[in-house]
């Protein structure tokens, strides 16, 4: 971080005043290990706090730039080494993370990941896994975190969690195995029905959707209503031989792209978060020190806009000077920038802080 002393002192003051009123209700706070950092995510760990008030005191007086808590619950969260903590279980946490070539590229893609987030939560976590205790928060930087706290999932070990990540990512998914042929001649092709759960049901549903919207991508003849109806009726009954294809193999091969679109791709990058039981994850509603954005919790995926809703609350205006060119971004609900190197600008404190923490600007002393 290329911040000056003045920048850092100013941001520390802003963070500290935010923490005075922030919602820091960490579930089972007394059983969590905490880690903090001043210039990177974790510089010291094995900390513990018995109450939100204790955590608040720590954050307002010491004000680290990064604060995380364990996904695990422990008898003695502050004990070292790890074996002495007395592991009791862990939340199931999914981390959807974006990667971009440019410094600000990922921020423009945050909206796009929301579609994956919605699918992950609705179809996979609630639908397939049957979980109910699910909370969401912005990561404060380039993605989203999903915390699942259903009791019977807490005891799962690392390998078992890996199985869930693999499921979400579609690792080992072989849609060809969904099909089997009856021994009778001519062979009937049995396949998934839409009322089946999991990938099988989803595959049938998606195929029906493609038949409705773009039937020709499967077979030219499916543009005709009659042929389509026959095939759709067949799929409903689990009989996929009703397609216009002469050979079943050709049909199955043509359905490949449908199967490929079923998993949630953006979980991919951080499978370790779900699997690794000693992992520390950003405290919901704490500030991400690389951006000054709040790792804000939210309920409604559609209406949540991180660059509008996760900024520090402030009406103060400060003057900054840009150290490099930055592109236009939708901050605080309005188009902001682009800014040129050496340009001086008076901006809302939250917006100015974002550029300062990103290393793109410095505060101009009055």
């Amino acid at each position: 971080m290329s911040m000056t002393e003045t920048d850092r002192a100013m941001m520390t003051k802003v963070f500290s005043s935010y923490y005075r009123q922030a919602d820091l209700d960490v579930v089972a706070i007394g059983q969590r290990e905490f880690g903090v950092g001043f210039s990177r995510k974790i510089e010291s760990r094995h900390l513990s706090f018995m109450s939100p008030g204790e955590l608040r005191n720590y954050l307002t007086s010491n004000t680290p730039f990064f604060v995380s808590h364990s996904i695990s619950y422990y008898d003695y969260p502050g004990a070292t080494p790890m074996e002495k903590k007395g592991w009791k279980g862990a939340d199931l946490v999914f981390d959807l993370d974006l990667h971009s070539e440019t410094k600000y590229g990922a921020f423009l893609l945050l909206g796009k990941v929301k579609a994956d987030l919605a699918r992950l939560v609705r179809d996979f976590i609630k639908g397939d896994f049957g979980c109910n205790d699910v909370t969401l928060n912005f990561s404060g930087n380039r993605g989203y975190h999903v915390h699942v706290r259903d009791k019977d999932f807490r005891v799962l070990g690392s390998e078992e969690r890996r199985e869930l990540v693999d499921y979400v990512m579609g690792n080992g998914l072989n849609y060809r195995d969904f099909f089997s042929e009856t021994p009778a001649k001519p062979a009937k092709l049995l396949g998934p029905r839409q009322d089946e759960g999991g990938y099988r049901g989803r595959f049938a549903n998606m195929t029906l959707k493609v038949l409705e919207e773009k039937p020709a991508t499967i077979h030219r003849n499916l543009k005709q209503e009659k042929a389509r109806e026959v095939f759709v009726k067949g799929i409903m009954e689990g009989n996929w031989s009703t397609s216009p294809f002469q050979k079943n193999g050709e049909l199955i091969a043509r359905l490949g792209p449908i199967a490929q679109a079923l998993p949630v791709a953006s979980v991919d990058t951080d499978a370790g978060v779900t699997q690794d039981l000693s992992k520390l994850i950003r405290v919901p509603n704490s500030i991400h020190g690389d951006t000054g954005l709040i790792a804000k919790t939210f309920d409604d995926i559609d209406s949540f806009e991180p660059l509008r809703d996760a900024l520090l609350p402030s009406s103060q205006i400060i003057k900054i000077r840009f150290l490099e060119d930055v592109p236009e971004l939708p901050l605080r609900g309005e188009a902001t920038g682009p800014f040129k190197k050496d340009e001086e600008k008076e901006l809302n404190l939250a917006v100015a802080g974002f550029y300062v923490l990103k290393g793109s600007a410095t505060i101009v002393k009055r």
């Binding site: 790890m82 896994f129 049957g130 070990g157 078992e160 579609g170 690792n171 999991g198 990938y199 000693s278």
Partner: protein, 327 residues
């Protein structure tokens, strides 16, 4: 205890019924001897349960299981413990096959409770995950999974129960200062093991320590006598063949696995050789969930074309990640 209950306890010596049955029994030398035999049988992969004819022998038979656990808790040898757990679980599975009426009770004791829905047998996902063997057939990706319920068959229910037994038996508490009869039995057991046992296995075969990190990690698991899943074994076998190891040497490498079976391994290795299966690509290794580094080499075999410097960088990254995880 009623007669049926005692027979049940003999079949499933890890059950609550079994614990009750031997609550008042004195630990004797005879029981300790039976316990040593029980462990030796596990090492030989002998899955048939001992025929117990007399009522009076039944309690001793159950007690021999408890004594075996004490011996293992005293010896603290992970290899012996794993082999014992694997074998006891297989014996239990055999009993379940012959006594279908037992399945419900034994499964339930591990929380494996299924519900029937229109002829389908459904099990809660977390329970399924805990006890399903890590093999491709049990992956949830290709199964019916709905609202936290997984479809299983009655055969699979027994297999899951076997796995639950294995995990349960494997968790043996430390026995720091056991009665002399247990100490003596433990020493007797160690003496009776072939001396070559230590010289065998992975340490003896794998002198060269230069493999891709994913292979290293699997070898480390074998050294620790941990079980590897089918894909991991398949991957290791194809890799060993590709770097020019002989079948016998490969067999030896696998002999550290707790569920090692000479015949099965010989057959599997032979099949891979016969069919000429090649080493999976890095992408495939990744889908097996076995990749643990960022080598960017496409195929694990290309590891051997990398320079020392590059290898060191990759190894360091892996080490740093492991450390970060355990820090």
């Amino acid at each position: 205890m009623e007669k049926g209950g005692l027979n049940f306890a003999v079949r499933y010596p890890f059950s609550e019924d079994a614990k009750k049955a031997i609550a008042d029994i004195q630990l004797t030398e005879r029981i300790a001897d039976l316990a040593v035999e029980r462990i030796k049988k596990a090492l030989a992969g002998e899955m048939r349960a001992r025929a117990v004819l007399h009522e009076s022998d039944k309690e001793e038979e159950i007690a021999s299981f408890a004594a075996a656990r004490m011996i293992l808790g005293y010896l603290r040898n992970p290899f012996l413990t794993s082999r014992f757990a694997v074998n006891e679980a297989k014996i239990a599975h055999n009993w379940l096959d012959r006594n279908e009426n037992d399945v419900e009770a034994v499964a339930r004791s591990f929380g494996i409770e299924t519900t029937d829905r229109k002829g389908r047998m459904l099990l809660r996902l977390p329970v399924y995950l805990r006890y399903s063997p890590r093999s491709v057939d049990y992956r949830i990706t290709n199964r019916r999974l709905e609202d936290g319920m997984v479809d299983i068959t009655s055969h699979e229910k027994k297999r899951l129960t076997e796995e639950a037994v294995r995990k349960h038996v494997e968790r043996i508490p430390l026995v720091r200062d056991p009665p002399d009869v247990i100490k003596n039995a433990g020493e007797k057991l160690l003496e009776s093991l072939p001396k070559t046992q230590e010289a065998r296995g992975i340490g003896a075969v794998m002198k060269v320590e230069d493999h891709p990190p994913c292979v290293e990690r699997l070898l480390e698991s074998l050294r620790k006598h941990e079980n590897l899943n089918h894909q991991a074994r398949y991957y290791l076998a194809t890799y060993f063949m590709a770097i020019g190891m002989k079948d016998e040497t490969i067999m030896q490498a696998f002999s550290d696995a707790p569920d090692f079976n000479q015949k099965t391994t010989a057959y599997q290795v032979g099949q891979i050789r016969k069919k000429g299966y090649s080493v999976p690509s890095c992408a495939t290794v990744m889908t097996y969930g076995l990749c643990c580094a960022v080598c960017r080499i496409g195929s694990p075999l290309n590891w051997h074309t990398l320079g020392k410097e590059r290898k060191d960088v990759i190894k360091e990254q892996v080490a740093a990640r492991t450390e970060e995880r355990t820090a």
